[in-house]
């Protein structure tokens, strides 16, 4: 293994060749069924979107991929450089859309109120971060039309399970090739497919403020959290059994609560059942079927 760059718990190691094959077929299949040949994604400079860019390029060719970089004015310049390196290596199309004006136009800036009025000036970082994620989503769906491609999701399994994601923000997509991979597995696959080491090795961050990292904010390490979630979710161990396996009781309690608390983020919103047939309840069709392709 390339253990020097990242830590991969044994039980999480996957067959990278099969994963790449399955994901490539998945990406091609999703596009074909929808009648699209191109894809668009938001490239942050982090490992998740970098890996998805590589996977999409492998599946359909870099010439059919548009990577949109969507920095806010406080976003890390290093992230931008990493994103540009991905674009350079893949040779895919890219665009830069600075979302500062969109976000500042709402919350205001430098004591000048935005659309929200003076209250917006006081908005907390997390709230702003969620809004930024939704602005990025809005841009991606707009570019999806002009580029003629589907929006590809870049969220991983770890963040989806603990709810480290913005509803209708970064979680919004037409399909997601890496949503069943834990962060450690994202790193394994990223190394296998050739994502630059610098991107694999750096600490994951939502980049809500300078120096923020996922692990320092919530107090976990990804390899440990991934292992815990793997045993809890995939291997159906109880929290008591996890503690028995040596996981810290505090982390087990936190993760179990986080997973339960984020259940709503992983599901389609419920519709009040009134009529004889209700979408998602007793009107059940595949998302794509004869007649549903745009071509």
């Amino acid at each position: 293994m390339t253990g020097a760059v990242f830590e991969l718990p044994t039980e999480l190691e996957i067959d990278a060749d099969i994963a790449r094959r399955v994901i490539a077929e998945f990406i091609r299949g999703q596009l074909r069924q929808a009648g699209f040949e191109r894809a668009v994604l938001g490239l942050s400079g982090g490992i998740d979107s970098a890996l998805v860019a590589f996977l999409v390029a492998e599946a359909i060719g870099a010439d059919r991929l548009l990577c949109v970089m969507l920095p806010y004015r406080t976003s890390s310049p290093a992230s931008r450089a990493d994103a540009e390196e991905v674009v350079r290596r893949l040779g895919c199309s890219s665009e830069l859309v600075d979302i500062s004006a969109m976000v500042d136009g709402y919350y205001g800036r430098d004591a000048v109120p935005g659309a929200l009025g003076s209250e917006g000036l006081e908005a907390a970082p997390l709230r702003r971060g969620n809004f930024m994620a939704r602005m990025r989503m809005a841009v991606l769906y707009d570019r999806s039309v002009t580029w003629g491609g589907l929006v590809v999701g870049t969220g991983n399994k770890t963040e989806a399970l603990i709810g480290y994601t913005t509803l209708f923000g970064d979680s919004a997509c037409a399909f997601n090739p890496i949503g069943d991979l834990y962060k450690s597995q994202v790193r394994q696959l990223a190394a296998a497919i050739g994502v630059p080491d610098a991107i694999i090795a750096k600490a994951p961050s939502a980049d809500l403020w300078p120096g923020q990292t996922d692990e320092s904010e919530a107090g976990f390490s990804y390899p440990e959290l991934d292992r815990l979630l793997f045993w809890l979710i995939d291997k159906r161990r109880s929290p008591e059994e996890l503690v028995g396996k040596g996981f810290a009781p505090g982390l087990v309690a936190w993760a179990t609560r986080a997973v339960a608390g984020a259940e709503f983020k992983r599901q389609v919103p419920p519709i009040a059942k009134l009529g004889p047939r209700t979408a998602g309840v007793d009107y059940l069709y595949p998302r794509r079927r004869p007649g549903s392709s745009r071509s």
Binding site: E13, D15, I18, R21, G29, Y283, Y285, P286, R289, P290
Partner: protein
Amino acid sequence: MQPLRIALAQIAPRLGALDENLERHQTLLAEARAGGAGLVVFPELGLTGYLLQDLAAEVAMRLDDPRLGALAAETAGLSAVVSFVEESADHRLFIAAALLEDGQIAHVHRKLFLPTYGLFDERRFFAAGDLLRAIPSRLGPGIGLAVCEDFWHLAVAQVLALDGAQILINVSSSPGRDLAATNEVGLGTATSWRTLMRTYAQLTTSFVVFVNRVGVEESISFWGGSEVIGPDGAAVFSAPFYDDGLYLVDIDLAEIRRSRIGLPLLRDERPELQVRELDRIVAERAGLASDSTADPDAAPGLDVAPPVPAPTSSSGRP
């Protein structure tokens, strides 16, 4: 003896696109015939795709459907196994696999076991079959048909073999999952299936022909890996994972006799013993006989006895 050439049609049907899939079947039948095949096997729901949900009723065919007849008509001097949604006269929908031979529908097997757990939801949309029969074939040895999950129930392969099947054919739409690197072949699903098919082939001393589809529907990817296993439990042929293709495999039918003479497991089976014990178990589970493994005080049909309530003092004295 002339070897039997089997064509494994490891294809990716288009979901809900019956006409398109019929056309692909016809093309591949012709291709297999040109390649000298005597038996062509298509995967589970190869004519319709797998994750149909409410589409099932829209792509269902009765056995008198002219489209099915037209496909059967392509099998002069040929045997083929095709799979589709069958609608019975009383409008139940089945996942069916049919043996087509010499222009006729020789046999229809309705899937017996409908997985409705984990990522599967078949029982919601389909009825389960009630018949398990080996069937004679123009190929010589008897044929036993099964669909995917049918092979995850031990009795199916055994009953087919006892009934005279010497070639067991399983058609599948198996979704690949569990990519743990520790798996023998990098894919948990494949590892399980490969173990199971070798075991069935060896224990029934029969050929096992497994055809699994490829392609993607919604979240799931079908892994292919179609195989032919000999009656000694060793693989004769293993198709690649995930590749769409028509794979030709020659088998020596004389292997069946050699295996069964050398390892007479089928001769030594005790079906009457099984019937006796199964009758007893069914009666016990139905509460019609006392259950030897249940708690002594359990009510008929239950195996756990509720706790006996502690005696309550009725007089009110301390």
